[in-house]
């Protein structure tokens, strides 16, 4: 079974530039999560979807960040005007229907963003 796929693996930007991250969840997983993880810290949830609907985006900086999952499968997270404080690894995870435990949450390998 293919895992959660993310691209790109790395991104390096100047402040003010835009960047998009892409996530392909495991087939059949209805819930998709985007996390921001600064180095040596725990992941912080930014937004999560169930199918194509946004369930919670309260932690997403809405002035510069946006996330979509138009067909309830792949998802894109975009940063419009990156800041140095956005430097982190961006993790995508997915879980199957009724998955509510740590054992049903599958992570991608992440996109490591550096903003200079």
């Amino acid at each position: 079974e293919a895992g959660v796929t993310q691209s790109p693996r790395y991104a390096v930007l100047q402040e003010g530039q835009a960047v998009s991250f892409w996530c392909d969840p495991i087939s059949g997983h209805d819930t998709l999560y985007w996390y921001q993880q600064p180095r040596d810290q725990g992941p912080q949830l930014l937004v999560y979807f169930r199918d194509e609907a946004v369930i919670d985006n309260s932690q997403l900086p809405s002035d510069r960040f946006s996330a979509v999952r138009p067909k309830g499968t792949n998802s894109t997270l975009k940063i419009q005007s990156a800041k140095q404080g956005d430097t982190a690894t961006y993790l995508c995870a997915s879980s199957p229907p009724q998955g509510g435990s740590a054992e049903t949450l599958y992570f991608g390998s992440g996109t490591r963003l550096t903003v200079l």
Partner: protein
């Protein structure tokens, strides 16, 4: 405030010793607790987890202990090896099926 706390940002253990990583939580409604390992530049990998009706679970060199009355759970790694060096994240699942993460403890195993 932080619902899940790892108060030790780092821990150094001699090779062969027991590594003990600790996690405290605030929410009585958490019903699932987990430990993840994160290598640099990699996503978290689930190591071991327990439901709230279990106070101990073993898997090889790993044991997780859950103390519900103390709102505390810990990970014990016996016979610690240099390849155990990594950041360890604890997490708890809340009633909305969301993982609430600790900030991580960097474990260093000294040869």
């Amino acid at each position: 405030g932080q619902q899940v706390k790892q108060s030790s940002p780092s821990l150094t253990v001699q090779e062969g010793g027991i590594s003990i990583l600790n996690c405290d939580y605030e929410n009585d409604m958490f019903d699932y607790f987990a430990w993840y390992k994160k290598y640099p530049d990699n996503s978290p990998t689930l190591l071991i987890s327990v439901r709230s009706n279990v106070d101990k679970r073993e898997d090889g060199r790993l044991t997780v202990f859950l103390n519900k009355s103390g709102k505390h759970f810990s990970l014990h790694i016996t016979a610690s090896q240099p390849e155990d060096t990594a950041v360890y994240l604890c997490a708890a699942v809340d009633s909305n099926y969301q993982l609430i993460w600790g900030s991580g403890t960097k474990l260093i195993i000294k040869p």
